[in-house]
């Protein structure tokens, strides 16, 4: 019984007669354990030159497998290139059968993959980028149009879907958003306190935190967390449905995939993103409150009053407005990447990663634009 632990089990014997082809007599098992040895022996003999040709006698081969046949392909190519004749002088029944099953002409080579020229590749990637930009715009338009018109349609799609999505995209993220914001609040308060204390201006920790959290940090932190948590989930869900032909199935059922899959999530994220941002701001300020009380000798009442005084309505509203836009970016980028998937399960992983990266990038760019607008406005 052949086992991978066992060594080769083969006998090789050269028979030479003057004037005639040199003959290699192979007996035993010509399988993947011994093929290397037979191959080496024949190649060496070819290298030394065998003007009269080489014959191989396989009549003593009891068992032979594909590697035993395949090695002759390479030996034959080498023999031909040296102009040496190579033939099988005798075959056992087993060997004949194997050679009959594994028919193959060694001159045949599989077609190579030929890459496109560099300029064509560049050009195609530019065109691909333009096409993707168009698809993204179309998806945005579809989503907004369906989101606005859906409530007025006679037959709304799956009624509970938006609520269900709110739980998935929003409520389930509340815990982690609160925790992270609290920790960031703590850190910010500690960092600024070291500076402010030298001026005896401890109380301004409250102002700074209230402003930073509501205007900037809460929307941004929430968006980054939601992009990682829910943006990836949206991309993976849509991509999986695309790969398993569920998206095509929806089309054949007369259901618009964007309306069916994306619009409920659009409602959900429009509702939950501002709520999460409020939670984030509250917990961030609470983090500062803890540091202020425990380490900066501020009374909780004074801290809260100071924070409330620092805030104006515009800061609150701009934070909420930003959060909604960030939510839309995360959703549309996630869905866009999901619909763009190619290949199988592997493609799903790829688009999920790019959905998260692009969503975070988009959110940060949008945040910069908002900062400019609010600076002038």
């Amino acid at each position: 019984m052949a086992s991978d632990a066992a060594g080769s089990n083969i006998v090789l014997d050269w028979r030479e007669e003057p004037g005639a082809a040199e003959e290699l007599v192979v007996s035993g098992r010509l399988d993947r354990h011994s093929a290397r040895e037979v191959h080496r022996t024949l190649v060496e003999r070819l290298r030394r030159g065998a003007a009269a040709g080489i014959a191989v006698d396989l009549s003593g081969v009891k068992r032979i497998d594909a590697s035993g046949v395949a090695l002759f392909a390479d030996v034959l190519r080498r023999a031909r290139s040296r102009g040496v004749s190579l033939r099988l002088s005798s075959l056992s029944a087993a060997a004949r059968e194997a050679f009959e099953v594994f028919r193959w002409d060694p001159a045949q080579q599989p077609p190579e993959r030929i890459g496109e020229p560099y300029l064509v590749q560049r050009g195609e990637s530019v065109l691909g980028g333009l096409a993707a930009a168009r698809d993204l715009l179309v998806l945005c338009a579809d989503t907004f149009v369906w989101a606005v018109t859906a409530p007025f349609q006679k037959r709304p799609y799956r009624k509970g879907a938006a609520l269900e999505q709110s739980v998935l995209l929003g409520s389930n993220a509340a815990g982690i958003v609160a925790l992270i914001s609290f920790i960031v609040g703590l850190t910010m308060a500690l960092l600024s306190a070291t500076q402010l204390r030298t001026f005896g201006a401890n109380i301004y920790v409250a102002d700074m935190l209230a402003l930073a959290m509501t205007r900037e940090l809460a929307p941004l932190l929430t968006a980054i967390l939601v992009a990682g948590r829910s943006g990836s989930a949206v991309a993976a869900e849509v991509a999986t449905m695309k790969v398993t032909e569920e998206v095509d199935a929806l089309k054949t059922l007369g259901l618009e995939p964007v309306r069916f899959l994306v619009v409920p999530k659009f409602y959900a994220i429009t509702l939950t993103q501002p709520l999460l941002t409020v939670i984030s701001a509250l917990f961030g300020i609470a983090g500062g409150l803890v540091i202020g009380t425990l380490m900066l000798n501020l009374s909780p009442e004074a801290f809260v009053q100071q924070a409330a005084r620092a805030l104006v309505l515009k800061d609150l509203l701009s934070g909420l407005l930003k959060s909604v836009v960030f939510g839309w970016i995360i959703l549309v980028v996630g869905a866009f990447n999901g619909f763009r998937v190619t290949g199988g399960a592997e493609g799903v992983g790829r688009v999920t990663t790019s959905a998260v990266v692009q969503a975070i990038f988009g959110v940060i760019v949008a945040d910069a634009i908002f900062s400019l607008i609010f600076w002038y406005g």
Binding site: A5, A73, R103
Partner: protein, 267 residues
């Protein structure tokens, strides 16, 4: 020479549900055994136990003479190298080309010179009719091509025993017949033992030396295709004749409930 596959008293459970009940099965060398049965009868479960992917709740499986549950890690690996598996969906690695998929076991488990390994891969691909597709990636192949590429990978180490899960499901009759013939040829040339799980009667008739029919986790029938036709078990003959069990009788259902008796044809 050890018996290629010997299953004794195999019990398989998923949670509370018993899928295989005290199953005995011995496959002889050079035998092509077809395992038949309706969906959910435990065919694939049996296959997964045979190759050690699932661990039996009770009983033993001896593959090529090695008891899988007693064998150590290394011994199991060696015995799996000596067997080939064609998975239902192909299970090709999508990040590698077809040739790399087929060559992977050669690269890992043999010390063949690279040129010989490459020739061997190409030979196996020609064998399944995919010589031209060697440098394509699996997602670029059609379903039938993917299945054939997976077969080429399953036989890349010339296994002593080959397991096939639905080798011809979803293939056109010509390709399916080609795969059937290939399985027979390989058995003849390499003295391979083959276990095929299928429900394609046409391919069973073409390749099977012996048929085992499973029903509800038990062996309902064990014999040749010819013996199947004369079986005393009605379910076996029904399966062969593709006779569906009688549909619900006409006196049940909505029509009966609404009083079909009173309805008369309008003139």
């Amino acid at each position: 020479m050890a018996i290629p596959l010997e299953v004794r008293g195999l019990v398989a459970r998923y949670g509370d549900k018993t899928v295989l009940e005290n199953l005995d099965l011995v496959v002889q060398r050079r035998e092509i055994l077809c395992v038949l049965g309706g969906s959910g009868c435990g065919k694939s479960t049996l296959l997964k136990h045979a190759i050690g992917l699932l661990i039996p709740a009770a009983g033993t499986v001896r593959l090529l003479g090695v008891a899988l549950d007693e064998a150590g890690e290394e011994e199991r690996r060696l015995v799996l190298v000596r067997s080939g598996v064609l998975f239902q969906g192909g299970a090709l690695l999508n990040s590698l080309t077809v040739a790399e998929n087929v060559g992977l076991p050669l690269e890992q488990h043999t010390d063949l010179p690279p040129v010989v390994a490459r020739d061997m891969v190409q030979m196996k691909l020609e064998l399944v009719g995919l010589g031209e597709a060697a440098n394509l990636y699996p997602p670029e192949l059609s379903g039938g091509m993917r299945k054939r590429a997976a077969l080429a990978r399953a036989i890349s180490l010339d296994p002593e025993i080959l397991f096939c899960d639905e080798p011809s499901a979803g293939l056109d009759p010509l390709t399916a017949a080609g795969i059937d013939r290939l399985i027979r040829d390989l058995r003849d040339a390499l003295s391979m033992t083959v276990v095929v799980v299928t429900h394609e009667m046409a391919s069973v008739a073409a390749i099977a030396d012996r048929v085992v029919m499973l029903d509800d986790g038990r062996i309902l029938f064990d014999g040749t295709v010819a013996e199947m036709r004369d079986s005393s078990v009605e379910a076996v003959r029904d399966y062969l004749a593709r006779r569906a069990p009688d549909a619900a009788a006409a006196d049940t259902g909505l029509l009966a409930a609404l009083g079909a008796a009173g309805v008369e044809e309008a003139e």
